[in-house]
């Protein structure tokens, strides 16, 4: 089942999961947008060693992760 996960101080928090277009997906989209506004970056992990930054929640994504920005130290 597709999941929206945020990496945070607790380790990670699952914000939403959905089975396809519908109420659950709409709620996940809302949650996703709210996190983007908070400064998180959405990443669709393709489970094959590659990932894509996403600005909209892909309905067919298996796992979308919200991460904070990185910077040179």
């Amino acid at each position: 089942m597709p999941r929206l996960v945020r990496m945070d101080a607790t380790g990670h928090s699952q914000l939403a999961e959905w089975t396809g277009p519908g109420v659950e997906y709409d709620r996940a989209v809302e949650a996703f947008r709210a996190e983007l506004e908070d400064g998180y970056i959405g990443v669709w992990d393709h489970r094959n060693g590659t990932a894509t930054q996403v600005r909209e929640l892909p309905p067919d994504a298996d796992l979308v992760i919200l991460r904070k920005p990185i910077a040179g130290g």
């Binding site: 990496m7 945070d8 607790t10 669709w44 060693g49 990932a51 894509t52 996403v54 991460r67 990185i70």
Partner: protein, 226 residues
């Protein structure tokens, strides 16, 4: 919906994207830099002994400088993957479980044992720590050390690694461009300054880099000879 470039690149618009040629140039510059630091101290030390044997203590100090400065550079390189910040004992097992989900079996076990995640990408093999990464170029003759970390300071260690891993997977060139280059040199110079538990991950990264280079050599067509 999706974009290929790392959004953090907008914070460093003056930087030129990193590629293999640029890494090669950086490598040569680091070698020149090391030689430029070392040779004058060695020459001064030897000259002092030849000119005035009574100045041996000063000569020793000069030779010590020739040894210490490259040591400090390599120490800085190794430090990019050292553990940093709070350990977050409660949240860390959850974060490590999540990071493990992102890794294949072998890198997962390696991360559990050493605290470092090994990832293969286009420029080479990356060893990712909590606040930095080491890149093994495909021939395994040189490593590049980068300082880079998440801006989320309250995260458990494995989440910090996962942040870097996901950024790397999204855009490797962007990742290397955003990161601060800390050191480049021979692998042995970095390895001996790593904490012992991390050396197994370093060795694994180096072995992968060398095996990928020999595999690519084996694939290269042999030039035809008449």
């Amino acid at each position: 919906m999706g974009t290929a470039a790392l959004p953090e690149l907008a914070t460093v618009p003056w930087r030129v994207p990193i590629d293999r040629d640029r890494l090669r140039r950086w490598g040569r510059l680091w070698t020149l830099w090391t030689v430029a630091w070392t040779i004058p101290f060695i020459v001064a030390g030897i000259a002092l002994i030849l000119v005035e044997p009574m100045a041996i203590p000063v000569a020793i100090a000069s030779l010590a400088h020739a040894w210490v400065v490259p040591e400090l550079h390599a120490f800085r390189g190794a430090s990019v993957v050292r553990q940093k910040g709070e350990r977050h004992a409660q949240a860390e097992p959850v974060a490590q479980g999540f990071l493990a989900d992102l890794l294949d079996h072998e890198p997962r076990e390696l991360q559990r044992q050493t605290g470092l995640a090994l990832e293969h990408a286009g420029l080479g093999h990356w060893l990712i720590g909590e606040a930095g990464a080491i890149l093994f170029l495909p021939d395994g003759h040189r490593v590049h050390c980068f300082c880079v970390s998440t801006t989320g300071k309250d995260l458990p260690p494995s989440d910090r690694i996962a942040h870097l891993l996901l950024a790397l997977r999204t855009d490797e060139i962007g990742f290397a461009t955003v990161a601060n280059h800390a050191f480049s040199g021979a692998p042995w110079r970095v390895r001996r300054r790593l904490p012992k538990p991390m050396r197994a991950a370093f060795d694994a990264g180096l072995a992968e880099a060398r095996s990928s280079a020999s595999a690519s050599d084996a694939r290269s067509p042999i030039p035809a000879t008449d």
